[in-house]
């Protein structure tokens, strides 16, 4: 089990490192976050999810007392 933990953590760290490097290189070479967000919004309707979470889900959880500000 301990060896499995080591392997999993090594894989996760390597993948996270590659992802972070990719994001960094992309931002350095001229990526625009607004453009990226617009493309993803068109693809997956992120604005709808964002509005649902911020305007309905979080107030509902606050009313229920499950989370606090």
């Amino acid at each position: 089990m301990r060896k499995a933990w080591q392997i999993v953590m090594a894989v996760v760290l390597i993948v996270v490192l590659i992802g972070a490097v990719s994001v960094g290189v992309g931002l350095i070479t001229g990526a625009n976050m607004d453009r990226v967000f617009n493309v993803l919004d068109n693809e997956y309707n992120l604005t709808i999810y964002h509005e649902y979470i911020t305007q309905e889900l979080i107030p509902a959880l606050l009313d229920a007392g499950l989370i606090s500000k």
């Binding site: 089990m1 894989v11 996270v16 290189v25 001229g30 976050m33 693809e43 997956y44």
Partner: protein, 322 residues
């Protein structure tokens, strides 16, 4: 001492030997039982042994609890086999054997105490046969005496056997002193470094059988207590397990969507890199939560159940000499 019989002697001795590990205590009690079996006169043997307290003190002086603790721990962790071989004869066993040998010599039961089994053959006639050939008991007794009282090599002293003061007498004196101090209420502090050094008998091989007996009432009681506790623990562990599973699915789905979108919807390389990197991070987090789910199922929950079973096995069974 006349009001004590064999049963009382053994019972009292068994109570006094609680400082020993259970298997050692049973071994010692069984050896005293054998000593009574092989002795024709019970009262004479009791008179020779003096008292259970004296025998307990003799055993306490030879008992190395640290060594025995290591032995018991090793044997417990080694395997689940109940019958094992031992290469080392404990010092307390040899002390009892020595007492038994002395008793046999005192009461003239040497040959009767050492029967030859059917699968062995003896070079000597039976004990009841009138012969000048020494019996096995005599040979072993003489060998033991020679080993115990032999002068150191090189000193050239050839001391006759009659002039040698037996070691047991001196240790018996110290035991008597100890007992008299104890009976007089003197403060007694047990210090291992002040005890006489026992000779090493590690070269003498010996095979001893141990078996484990389950106590059914204890097992039922343990099950009644353990099953609800395990169920509560299971429910408590299922909550983080399911949360880990949900997070694993969410992050994995988001990561796969980001990676697929990076190659399908973006045309600028820098944007592709950013989305691809974010997708990889999400996939890594999904893998981490998936592993946490597996660990909760296979490690925590299974470990808890295995631990409960092992604990029950340890609490509800006891080792006894076969």
């Amino acid at each position: 001492m006349t009001d004590i019989n064999r049963h009382n002697f053994i019972t009292e001795l068994s109570k006094l030997l609680t400082f020993m590990y259970e298997e050692d205590r049973l071994t010692a009690v069984n050896m005293y039982e054998d000593m009574f079996e092989s002795c024709p006169d019970e009262q004479q043997l009791i008179h020779h042994l003096v008292s259970p307290t004296r025998q307990a003190v003799v055993l306490a002086r030879t008992y190395d609890s640290k060594e025995r603790m290591l032995h018991v721990d090793t044997r417990t962790k080694k395997s689940d086999l109940y019958v094992e071989e031992e290469d080392i004869v404990p010092a307390f066993v040899l002390a009892i054997e020595k007492i038994g040998t002395e008793a046999q010599q005192l009461f003239g039961t040497k040959a009767a105490a050492l029967p030859v089994s059917e699968d062995q053959f003896s070079l000597f006639p039976a004990a009841d046969g009138a012969s000048d050939i020494p019996t096995v008991g005599e040979i072993i007794g003489e060998t033991a005496e020679n080993e115990a009282f032999a002068p150191a090599a090189g000193d050239g002293a050839d001391v006759p056997g009659e002039e040698i003061v037996p070691v047991e007498e001196s240790s018996g004196d110290s035991v008597d002193e100890f007992l008299s101090e104890y009976e007089n209420g003197a403060a007694i502090t047990y210090r291992e470094e002040t005890l006489p050094q026992e000779p090493s008998y590690q070269d003498a091989p010996r095979v001893r059988s141990i078996r484990r007996e389950r106590s059914v009432p204890l097992l039922i009681l343990y099950s009644l207590a353990a099953i609800p506790v395990c169920l509560v623990g299971l429910v408590l562990l299922l909550v983080p397990t399911l949360i880990s599973l949900v997070f694993a699915f969410v992050f994995a789905a988001a990561g796969i969507a980001a990676v697929s979108c990076a190659f399908g919807s973006f045309v600028i390389f820098a944007d592709i890199l950013v989305v691809l990197g974010a997708g990889l991070v999400l996939l890594a987090l999904g893998l981490l939560f998936l592993w946490l789910f597996v660990w909760f199922i296979g490690g925590a929950i299974a470990g808890m159940i295995n631990g409960a079973i092992k604990l029950g096995n340890r609490l509800c069974t006891k080792e006894v000499a076969a």
